[in-house]
Amino acid sequence: MGLNAKTSEIIAFAFLTLAALTVAGFVLFILYYIVSNGYSAISIEFLTEMPRKMMTEGGIYPAIVGTVYLIIGSMLVALPMGILAAIYLTEYAGENRTTWAIEMAINNLAGTPSVVFGLFGLAMFVKYLGFGPSLLSASLTLALLIIPVIIRSSEEALLAVPPEYRESSLALGISKWQTIRHVVLPASIPGIVTGSILSIGRVAGETAPILLTGAAYFLPRLPDSVYSQFMALPCHLFVLATAGTNIAQTRPLQYGTALVLLMIVLAVNFVAVLVRRYYRQKLKI
């Protein structure tokens, strides 16, 4: 005999709640762990100065700047390309072999391990195109990495725009492109922004692709052009924790670096949320 409806409801509810609480618990634990170990390292000096004495003292300023540049650089490339590709796929592409091939390529790109992107960036941007290990090579590599994410979320955002908007704009004698430009795209911005939030987190956190394409082990100055090498927070953290000159001594610096990385991602996400809210209110949807 099966359980009665009420009992099974209680059991299901208990398991679902437990699962949700476990996930939230882990997230909170990681946050607590990093904050409690890292906050003592945070100081004005830590945030604004160059590393000193083989990175056992001093700050992480160049790594912060490098990560911010990477976010900006990869977004400048990936956002327009991703959004334009999504517009093509949702609004223009027919149901044919070409479209199928493009969709397959995007799906496979999304599932490709990031180190493979790193190797591709090394071969393509660093060597073949001659950009060298640089901010440019690394930003382009990261852009390729996140373009599938941006395409997918932009496609969803575009498809969520009610077809009535398109119909009534076309019925006013307004061309398809103008309709997309003036009605469909503005209405889908909140969704597109939400999608790019996820990719910003990835850009800030990826290590392997930038290690191969331009991140420096140690570089006590800021990049002065897109062809410069740079430091970045995740690589710096990796170096301090595995290959530093004194791993035990720099432990507080490691936690501090992790905390700063976390804060940057949260701050960028927060800005993205504000942008999304602004557009939602403007559109009143």
Partner: protein, 258 residues
């Protein structure tokens, strides 16, 4: 087909032997009709009879449906709109459309109406006049003139539909197609839209699809009855309702099916 209609001297819309298929399924069969200028013509018939499909042939909205195939001729002002070299965008400027559900854009009332003229290149300083004129023509100005910058979604359903009519008029079409414009509205809003449509025929040629036979009888000059993809009967509204020539028209009008 009734004598009087065949003799419409200068029809604004003239359809000859129109056939339409969705994939394998034929949705319209040999439609022939001549719609006179500055009149209200109603398309009636049971669900699935092809009346909405047909009205969408008149501004080529069916182009958006991939499986749709059309044969025959639709002339507006003597020009075949399915002929070579026809710019669909220009056609839709000339033939406006109001849809079943009120569907304003997610913008302010003002921007909803200014949207079309702006893109069509109307002078910036003239836009305000165009907006006011359109709102007045749609009998909406007095109700909302103090809040034209507020979002269009803050209007009631009936007001939204009149806004959509104003939006259509703002691009100065010659013909306005209404695809069941009142089916989502309450009776009071419906009455306002009907009154509006009757006033509009001075300036526009109106074609309206309606489910509501009383509505067709109240507001139209001509009525076309569709059944299973065929145009069964077309004539002066009074004649269609009082003295239909076909048994099936009479059955539909008297409510025996539909």
């Amino acid at each position: 087909m009734t004598e009087a209609i065949q003799n419409v001297a200068n029809p604004q819309i003239e359809v000859k032997d129109l056939n339409l298929w969705y994939g394998e399924k034929q949705a319209l069969k040999n439609i022939n009709i001549r719609i006179p200028k500055n009149s209200v013509t109603a398309f009636i018939g049971p669900s699935g009879c092809g009346k909405s499909t047909f009205i969408r042939c008149l501004n080529r909205m069916n182009d958006l449906i991939k499986s749709c195939r059309i044969e025959g001729e639709v002339s507006i002002e003597g020009k075949d709109i399915y002929g070579p070299g026809v710019d669909v965008v220009d056609l839709r400027k000339q033939v406006g459309m109001v849809f079943q559900k009120p569907n304003p854009f997610p913008m302010s009332i003002y921007d909803n109406i200014a949207y079309g003229p702006r893109i069509h290149g109307v002078n910036k300083k003239d836009i305000e006049g165009v907006v006011e004129h359109a709102l007045r023509s749609a009998a909406l100005w007095d109700e909302i003139s103090d809040r034209i910058r507020s979002p269009a979604f803050s209007l009631s359903g009936g007001q939204q539909q009149r806004l959509c009519i104003a939006r259509t008029m703002a691009v100065k079409p010659e013909i306005i197609l209404f695809d069941e414009p009142c089916s989502a509205l309450d009776p009071i809003s419906t009455a306002k839209i009907e009154e509006l449509i009757m006033n509009l025929k001075k300036d526009y040629t109106i074609v309206i699809v309606t489910h509501n036979m009383q509505q067709a009888a109240r507001i139209s000059d001509y009525t076309a009855f569709f059944l299973m993809g065929e145009l069964i009967e077309f004539g002066k509204t009074r004649q269609i309702f009082e003295n239909p020539g076909e048994k099936s028209t009479e059955d539909y009008i008297t409510g025996r099916f539909g």
